[in-house]
């Protein structure tokens, strides 16, 4: 499989009044064509900032650097803003956690679809072949994402739909662009169990049906297990483990991933008492150069205070931990 997106040495710094903090540091990963890459970690670990850095969606006080940022075989780190606009919202798109905030509240759902169709009219001229073409496509996509009466919904305003319906509509809206890369940022977090399950099933169907690649950001291990081909675990701004989803979930190597997987499986298995990961995420300002998980790690030893590189275990399986030095 070829790589749709290659990220090397991504670093994002926020300039704040009290000085600069590095929120993402030395992040390397690939997204292959047609795969779902799960980006897993808790809030504050830098998952969202990583993706927003790639899509250039961060505010001005953030500075993004990368050694190498290749999308569809083309270096995009050096593109100027007007060239980049040709990619974002056309070839790459992001689905946010909060569907309500993603729509313009005073415009109908149909207006959003027309707007998006216009933007991609170069690559998808068939949407304007005749007057109603984009509308028919929109209704078909809405049907595909589980809104059978999609045509009626085009006349509705966002507040008239429930959260789950809006999230589906947003997915359909993004699919209308036919992007090569879709970043989905915790798209199920605000939804109820049953709707969440339906949205996950929906994504599962979509990845086979449309030739898109997905980066699926989540903190939920069970969702990652259902959906992702490969998983990258993030902790405190760094990727600490990468591998095929079943490998990472069945046999996590980094102590942090081990803790995450254990919490998820123990809750499901109904144990008497959950094992805790002690402590909290480190403070950005007090971060040391060494392993960032060290203060919470049960296996900490001499050497952990120096910076840890990603260590390769097998083909495609890497972990940022001193324990795996020899291998």
């Amino acid at each position: 499989m070829s790589n749709l997106l290659e990220v090397r040495g991504l670093q994002t710094t926020f300039q704040l009044r009290g000085g600069a903090i590095k929120v993402v540091e030395g992040v390397d990963f690939d997204v292959r064509s047609g795969e779902v890459l799960g980006l897993i970690g808790e809030s504050g670990s830098g998952k969202t900032v990583t993706c927003m850095s790639i899509l250039r969606l961060l505010p001005e006080h953030a500075s993004v650097k990368a050694d190498h940022l290749v999308f569809e075989g083309r270096e995009i780190a050096t593109l100027d803003e007007s060239e980049f606009r040709g990619l974002r919202g056309r070839r790459m798109a992001m689905i946010f956690q909060d569907p309500v905030g993603s729509f313009n509240p005073v415009k109908t759902i149909g207006w959003h679809f027309r707007h998006v169709s216009r933007r991609v009219s170069d690559s998808r001229p068939e949407l304007f072949r005749d007057r109603g073409a984009w509308k028919r496509e929109a209704a078909a996509l809405l049907r595909r994402v589980g809104i059978p009466h999609g045509k009626d919904i085009l006349g509705s305003y966002p507040h008239q739909l429930s959260g789950g319906m809006l999230q589906r509509a947003l997915v359909a809206l993004v699919l209308q662009m036919r992007p090569a890369l879709i970043v989905a940022d915790e798209p199920t977090t605000n939804l109820d169990n049953i709707v969440e399950h339906q949205i996950v099933e929906l994504f599962r169907g979509l990845k086979d049906e449309f030739q898109s690649s997905f980066i699926f950001i989540t903190h939920d291990m069970s969702i990652a297990a259902k959906l992702c081909d490969r998983i990258a675990v993030m902790y405190a701004g760094q990727i600490v483990e990468v591998g095929r989803a079943e490998d990472v979930l069945n046999d996590p190597k980094h102590p942090y991933s081990q803790g995450l997987v254990r919490t998820a499986t123990e809750l499901a298995a109904r144990v008497e008492r959950l094992q805790e990961i002690p402590g909290e995420l480190p403070n950005w300002r007090s971060m040391t150069g060494g392993c960032r998980f060290k203060p919470r790690c049960p296996h900490g030893r001499a050497g952990c205070e120096s910076p840890q590189p990603m260590r390769r275990l097998t083909q495609g399986r890497e972990v940022r931990c001193l324990q795996h030095e020899a291998s």
Binding site: G163, D192, N193, H197, T263, A268, R296
Partner: protein, 331 residues
Amino acid sequence: MSTDFLIELRNLTVRFRTRRGLDAALSGKSPYITAVDDVSLGIPRGEIYGLVGESGSGKTTLGKAILRLVDPASGEILFRGRDIAQLPERRLRPLRRQLQTVFQDPLSSFNPRHRVGEALATPLKLHRIVPASAIPQKVDEILLRVGLSPVFRDRFPHELSGGQLQRVAIGRALTMDPEFIVADEAVSKLDVSVRAQILNLFKDIQSASGLTMLFITHDLHVARYLCTTIGVMYFGKLVEFGPTEELFRSPRHPYTEALLSTIDSGGSGKDWRGLAGEAYNPSADDRVGCRFYKRCPIRKDRCAGSHPPLAAVGRGHHVACYERTAVCKAA
């Protein structure tokens, strides 16, 4: 019912007015939505009762009604056998210290300009729990009890992480040695790696002090870990309740089945896709028939007639479904 319930609800109904004046008169629709609809349940002393259901099902309103933070339209709330549903605020105040709550978002439940120490001392002062001179010592005790060092006394809420702040919130609820706590999605906003710590803290506190708790959550795993009894709400109605393990092993209500199938990682092959239909719309307030009728895979004609009453299908296990109770009786 027997008297070993600390909290007992009898036919509790809570309504919110959504239309007023001319709008109410002209629209021809009911000016109310019914958030909690004729709910009866009992929370045994010393147990954690889990309330699950999707957002909008009335879980939070039910919890607030027990604390008398919203006023019920009708029904009884028995606290230690005494009805507090209609008590005026003046007579309610002495009871307030017995009924505490922990909210979902710890940051918004603290005054950002008060230090943690002040936040914990305020209820102590208001209710004159301990003499003024003993307050600092009591505050330190509370912090230690929820696993925080006394240095946190001088911090502001924004300086604490979500997990630490939730510990303070739990501590604040405990300052008055309450008999009953409503924990409303108290772990939902916490990070995965911290969630286990707070769940264990709840478990420890409960087993150490025999506290009674209503634990509201949408996370079925969390409910299963903490609670001895679980009630399932669907659009204002309690549709099923029973002992945790029995409910998980043999759910009776089709909605509970659907909920549980979402966490069944193996994929039992049950077709819950029928649920994709529109959810019950409480604002339409066409309160006839089973609330689950439109989405139900096993509905029959009579289900459209009236909402089924809760009926026993096992020891302490009740379900509101005509089909499932009929099967049980026949068997």
